[in-house]
Each structure stands twice: as structure tokens, then as C-alpha cells.
Symmetry: C2
Subunit: 328 residues, 2 copies
DNA sequence: TTGAAAGCGCTAACAG
DNA sequence: CTGTTAGCGCTTTCAA
């Protein structure tokens, strides 16, 4: 590497300890020597070696973030919020991505810990006790967004169940007689949905069953497009599709448009997430804003509470927002 | 931290040197002691401290990436490609984001270097000699995507100028008599466009001027929407808008749709980038695919060439793809 | 085949 | 106010 404290010490005719003191403002030090040291350091463009500092202190001022697939709008917004919030506290963020691969996910977490990040924010595909144990073994503050791992690890999110339930109420109020829930599998491999989508489904089922006159159905396969067409052409009831993600809704709208079925008129449709692609699509999709930026910000707050040794709730809910659209 | 080589050495009754040899396969070592060491290490769940290793070797197996604003689809695709390509070579990626802030940009680069990333891939907002000098001072392999900094620092991208020129040819061929180039400023602060958009503009101008019968105009302000409306309502020529980014095109299409003007019929429009939001928008926007994933992959390839001490071209072009749409 | 010793660059306890 | 010393955890001569 380049310039070290040793070089500076030599040039200034002092010890490395003194040089260190000049930087850290710790211990008493003569103003003149300090100024001189700082000046020399600047002239030489001295930069402390963070690996050495980190090694010594066991602290790196880094947070680790692991998410799957940034291409998902949801995550992009999340990452930005985390970055901003962390920066505000003078921390840095190491973002790592993977593609819904559970093994990779563990690797990346492990790797970040090996590099001594001080805390982790995760939006994992893995969950369950086994994964929870793995995380606890890291012995680092961890906050989870999006997929509840287990009861113990702090989680931040919205009340997905209640949001889905609200959505169903809205749909019913609009006079739909049949509601179809679209919820294809997310983690492809094991055909297992992440927590939030499971919750959405639960919320849907719980609420829709309260309305005796309303028919319902849940489609959980990947070829939902053809199923949707089948339903729409075969049934006479006023039908709405409630999708566990905006993407599915957009996909359906596009497909049906080609068949000359118009959202909001020939059928109702509602999404979930409020991804910003919606800004460019007409008609405006009705959806639930999962306030991902707020959630991310809150997650960082909680992580810092943990870092400061504070107690935190193991579940923190942020208020979602229902967005009215033109598709219901 | 947890278990160290010292612990393992003690347990196995050998020196730390020997433990190290067991891991690195360097130097001769008794098969039995080796096996024993590895076994103990596994039992204790030993993890090498990467800060210590990095400090010692001056190598971290990390690449640094700095981009502004992942919310931009463009970058999201890029990051994924980089991550995958780096992983394939057993390297890790530290992604850092900022919001078009030049000072922050430098900070983050500096910080990554302080952490001894071995190389950098940047898509910077800054450019020019001054920034080039700054980068060279890092004394790290660097590859630039998207904003040419200066002649010396290796750059990967598409031939933006030629792509824009091609686009104009296409538009002219479709019979448009007036072409309006939409290119609002990207780096808000200084009203200065990044290289790629400048190139697109140059390509536009160069080509459009070859077609004497075609009128043209360039709108470079943020309130392009009202300008567009003004032009469309006031002129009788068959008009097409060529946007330096898909986002602007989508914005215009949405706005004009509300005024009952239909893309592809009442006016032509073409974008640039081929962001994947286009998949959900009807009509399909004509655009240029900037093949960002290919570019990113290539950038990593080049970075590794640099890491291996190979000579690389200071400018590498990847073939773009013109996408036909329904909007011309 | 193994170990002792020195050092990467920074920090902190303890003396002076 | 300043310096000496030891050590973070790992690696690498060099010698045994």
C-alpha cells in the first residue's frame, strides 16, 4: 500500500502512537505537533488502511445487505433507502445479490461476516428454524425484511395479512362477485412462497370467506395467464383478480388487452407492492403500497438500536397504504 | 471474533504455521496432521478472518462497484450481470450507491480502495481530467461503464453515436418529416449530461442533418412534456420524438395518451435503453437495446484482464440491438 | 515435515 | 505531552 503512519511518524520525528493520537483526538497532544502531523498526512495523501483498523478494532463501519435479484423494483427502492439511512449515520453498506439460491445466500452472509460487517439487513429466501440457527451463529445484529425467518430474529414489514384483507374488502365493495387470487411461487426451486406472499394469501382467504355471496379461487401455478383467460371466458360473474404482486397483474393486463378485455371494465384487477413501473402503465393499477422505503429505513434504525445494545421488538409493523386505481 | 488458527494449533498440538499449511496446501505436510487439523477446524466451525488475511496479502478477493441510483432499471440489470460474472471467478462484489453526488462518488471510491478492493467497475457521474487523475491515484485496475472519463481509463459500452444515428435513419425511413430529440439533463446539479447521452445527441444531430427535407429540434429541458404538446398541436408535419432514454418516452406516451394522442398513429416515438418496464407497456416502444448485461459482463472480463496484468484496449464496444416496436 | 520469528498497519495500556 | 511495547489473526521466510 501507500503511506502509513510509520512514514508520517518518521517524517515528523515522532512515534506512531503520536501520529495516531493526532487522528483520533484521543489523549493529550501538543497542538503544534498535531498540526504538523495532520499537515504532513494531508500532503502525503495518507489514508488509513481500513483492513488494519478493522482488524484491530473488530469494527469496520460496514453493514452488510443481502437480497435476491435487484432487478426486482422492490429491492432497488429498498437498497437506496438503506444506503441513505446508513450513510446518514456514517456507516457504509456492502450490498450483495444472489438469485434466489439458498446456498449462495448463506455463503454471502457468511462472507460478509468474515469481513466483519457489524450488522446485517437481509431479505432472504431461506427461512425456518435451521436458517434461524445459522443466522444466530453469526453472532451479529440482524434485521429481516420481507421473509419472517423465525420468532426471534427482528423483522420489519407491513401487516401483509391485514393489507390483503383490506384489499378484498375494497374489491367486494366495488361489487365484484368472484375474486381470484393470483399467487405464483416465488422461490422457484422448492415451490415455496416467501412469508409475505403466504400472509397475503392467508389474508385473502380469511376475508373472502366472510363474504358468503362472493365466489373465490386461488391460482398458485406459473401458467396463471391461461387460467385467467379460462375463468374470464367461462364465468358470468363480475370477476376481479387480486394478485400477490404487481408484476403478475401487469402481465395479466397486458395479456388480456390483446384479447380486447379491458381492466376496470371487463374485469377488475388489483396488485400488491406499488412498484414504480405502475407510473407508466395505463390504466392505473389499484394496489397496496408496501412502503418499502419506510420499511427499509425502519430496518436500519432497528439495526442501529441493536448495535447500540438496545432491546428491540422482534416484529415491527409499518403502515401500508392502499392505492386507488382505475382497474377496479 | 471466534475460533482462530491459534486455537486450532493448540488443540492439535502443532504450530500455527502448520495449521496454515493445512489450509493452503502450501509446503509439505503430513497427511495425518493435515486431516486432523481440517477436522478440528470444521468441528469448531473455524472461519478465517478476512481482514487479517487481506491485511497480510494486500488482497481481498473483492471488486468494488459504484453506481448512482439503482432505481434506474439500467443499473439493476448491470449489477446482476457483474455479480454473476464475478462470482464465476470466485470474487465478491461490494456494490455502493449514491445519488448523482460527485463528492459522495469520490468518497465511496476512496472508501472501497481503503478496504483494498482489488479492482473497480464504475458508472460515474463525474468525468474529465480531474476525475481521471483522481482515479489513477487509486492505483487500482478500473473499468468504466457508461460515462467516458478520459482517453486512458478503459471504457466499455456501445457505440452510442452510431446507435442514435441508426435510430434517426429508421425514423426517417418510416416517413417522419420532423424529428424531435428529447434529452433532459441527467446530472441535475450541473446541468451536464453524461457521456452516453451527449453521444446520442451528437449521433442524432449528425444524422438528421444529412436529411435535408427533415425538420429537427432538440429539447433539453426538464419540462419537455409541455414542449412536446406544444409541438404536436402546432405543427402539421408527421412528427416523431426520439428520446435519449426510455423513461422519457414512457412519460411522454402516458401524457399524450391522456390527451388522446396515440403513439404510432398520431405521432411516432422511440426510446433508448430497452429497460424492462417496456415489457408491460402497450404499445411496444421502439427503442435501442443498450445490451447492458453484455456490457457489464465484458467490463468484468476486462477488469480481470487488468488484474492479471494484461494490456487492454482503452475502449471496447459491444454491439447494440435496435428493437422494432409499435410506436413508429 | 514442522516450528520460531517477524511483520502487514493500526491501536491502546502503561510508563515516563 | 510522548514513547515503548504488545497484539489483532494470518502468512511467510528461514532454520531445524
Amino acid at each position: 500500500m501507500g503511506v502509513t503512519t510509520k512514514d508520517i511518524a518518521q517524517i515528523c520525528g515522532v512515534s506512531r502512537t503520536t501520529v495516531n493520537r493526532a487522528f483520533t483526538n484521543t489523549g493529550r497532544i501538543n497542538k503544534e505537533t498535531k498540526d504538523k502531523i495532520l499537515k504532513v498526512a494531508e500532503d502525503l495523501e495518507y489514508r488509513p488502511d481500513m483492513l488494519a483498523t478493522g482488524l484491530k478494532n473488530g469494527k469496520t463501519q460496514y453493514l452488510g445487505v443481502v437480497v435476491f435479484d435487484v432487478r426486482n423494483r422492490y429491492f432497488a427502492q429498498m437498497l437506496n433507502a438503506i444506503e441513505i439511512e446508513a450513510k446518514a449515520r456514517n456507516y457504509f453498506v456492502n450490498i450483495t445479490l444472489h438469485e434466489k439460491d439458498k446456498e449462495q445466500e448463506r455463503d454471502m452472509i457468511q462472507r460478509l461476516v468474515d469481513y466483519r460487517v457489524e450488522g446485517l439487513i437481509l431479505s432472504p429466501v431461506s427461512k425456518g428454524n435451521d436458517f434461524g440457527t445459522f443466522l444466530r451463529k453469526m453472532e451479529k445484529p440482524i434485521v429481516i425484511i420481507g421473509n419472517r425467518v423465525d420468532k426471534e430474529i427482528p423483522f420489519v414489514g407491513i401487516d401483509e395479512k391485514k393489507a390483503a384483507s383490506d384489499a378484498v374488502q375494497t374489491i367486494v365493495r366495488k361489487g365484484y362477485q368472484k375474486i381470484v387470487f393470483i399467487c405464483p411461487p416465488l422461490a422457484d426451486v422448492e415451490n415455496e412462497n416467501v412469508y409475505s406472499h403466504e400472509q397475503r394469501e392467508e389474508g385473502f382467504l380469511q376475508e373472502v370467506q366472510k363474504h358468503k355471496t362472493v365466489q373465490y379461487e386461488a391460482i398458485k401455478s406459473w401458467n396463471y395467464l391461461s387460467e385467467v383467460v379460462k375463468i374470464l371466458t367461462s364465468s358470468s360473474e363480475k370477476t376481479a383478480f387480486f394478485c400477490s404482486g404487481d408484476i403478475f397483474a401487469l402481465d395479466i393486463m397486458k395479456h388480456l388487452k390483446q384479447l380486447n378485455k379491458r381492466a376496470g371494465q371487463d374485469y377488475g384487477i388489483m396488485g400488491f407492492d406499488n412498484i414504480d413501473t405502475l407510473d407508466y402503465v395505463i390504466p392505473r393499477l389499484a394496489t397496496i403500497d408496501n412502503v418499502v422505503e419506510k420499511v427499509a429505513t425502519k430496518a436500519v434504525d432497528i439495526l442501529f438500536d441493536l448495535l447500540e445494545g438496545k432491546e428491540v421488538a422482534n416484529k415491527t409493523l409499518v403502515d401500508y397504504v392502499e392505492i386507488e386505481g382505475e382497474t377496479l
